[in-house]
Symmetry: C2
Subunit: 252 residues, 2 copies
């Protein structure tokens, strides 16, 4: 093995959700590689070189990290949430597959983290309590027809749906189109959660119905969670409702 590359998920933001394994990987790294806001979450320390890059530069960032590791450095690539879920791990392995064959000899260690959908689910109850899926709504890297086909398939089949990358300045209409599509399949009362900056100081979590779901509630830091027809809403006197998806499914 040459060099060492840690792919680390930092969790959604609250240090209380960052695992000891992630903290340990950060403590032995010589080089820290990642998107600026994620690198900023790691305290500086003598001997730790920081390599900051912009969003949407995943493959060049991955190659840079692999070059550093291949040169013998101990490199940690940081992502928010879980590095294996719509984050850097896939980009690094893609770079390995298409890159220098020597990179296959790098000691790569992937360290999972708490992905946003689990932090969001925990805030509102247990909406992911039965079968669920995670789907990126971005059509930057896949055709919109694939997104809609997948959405239809999972909504029809009764999965709870976590939508990552629901909206951005360059993709303003897709979330509204997704809600319109889902309204043809799911009951109007199906709960929808908009969760922005979960576990951070400016966290905002709102539960609405699919009928009332307004895409304008979402921004680039929002995860949108859509219940199935089975997802239940427990009303409370002086607090927001709890949501949960029962473990039992009746015959279709």
């Amino acid at each position: 093995m040459i060099g060492k590359l840690f792919l680390v998920g930092l969790g959604p933001g609250d240090p209380g959700m960052q695992t000891p394994q992630a903290t340990a990987a950060l403590s032995v790294a010589t080089d820290l590689v990642g998107y600026g806001p994620y690198v900023d979450r790691v305290p500086p320390r003598p001997g730790l070189v920081r390599h900051v890059s912009d969003n949407r530069e995943e493959i060049s960032r991955a190659r840079h990290a692999l070059e550093l590791a291949a040169s013998g450095r101990r490199v940690t690539v940081v992502s928010s949430g879980d590095t294996g879920v719509f984050a850097m791990a896939s980009a690094v392995f893609e770079a390995i597959e298409h890159g220098d064959t020597a990179w296959r000899g790098i000691d790569v260690e992937v360290i999972p983290g708490i992905s946003a959908m689990f932090a969001v689910a925990a805030r509102v109850g247990a909406p992911l309590g039965h079968d669920f899926c995670a789907l990126s709504l971005s059509d930057n890297l896949k055709p919109w027809e694939v997104v809609t086909r997948r959405l239809r398939a999972v909504a029809d089949a009764g999965f709870v749906i976590a939508l990552y990358n629901p909206i951005s300045r360059a993709r303003p209409w897709q979330l509204g189109a997704a809600f319109a599509l889902l309204r043809d399949i799911l009951p109007p009362a199906t709960p929808v959660v908009f969760a922005t900056a979960v576990s951070r100081s400016d966290e905002a979590v709102t539960v609405v119905s699919l009928a009332d779901a307004d895409p304008a509630r979402a921004d680039m830091r929002t995860l949108v969670l859509i219940g199935s027809a089975a997802t239940r809403r427990i009303e409370r006197a002086s607090a927001p409702p709890w949501l949960y998806t029962p473990r039992s499914v009746d015959a279709a």
Copy 2:
């Protein structure tokens, strides 16, 4: 609010994957409630009363925890992995919905954990790097027809699939039936991961092809992960292959 109830996910087993939030909840609890092997993972401490119950007693366990919390105790219900993913959180909210209305006044705090599928994915690369789903293969609480309909839907639509509860003594044939169904949809070379006791001392992780997937490799502690047609396998000279699912999807 009356009483306090923490629903805690301990992660898959390695203490390095247990979050500081989970550790903090355990440190302030007066009562620990859960399935024996999970309660055993929490070190004893003066003042901490342990309430151990058998597997498959989720609802009575949930009611017991709610009664303790409603009486003013600080109760922690522990699950392996993430408590919101095929674990105790859904059972507790189900018990609340159908139980004493006073239980809606309990201060319930859900603390997410690293679910098995993320620990497994991290061991083999980044197979959950694009759209994926989690599906319980158990037909104890849902009709088998619902399981097969869901499997077909997600395999057809290109999701990577994590199968929880793939097999048990009482459900010996379902995993084989699932593989047979998937062989009609996915290419024979589609990677399948069998991961047993991930992150523990007796961990066993094997990557095979769908054509060669033998249900006898799985037991009650196994998570089975099935790639999509897009999932890639990176061969290495002297180590098991890495798997990853690319971030890009070509037109269907």
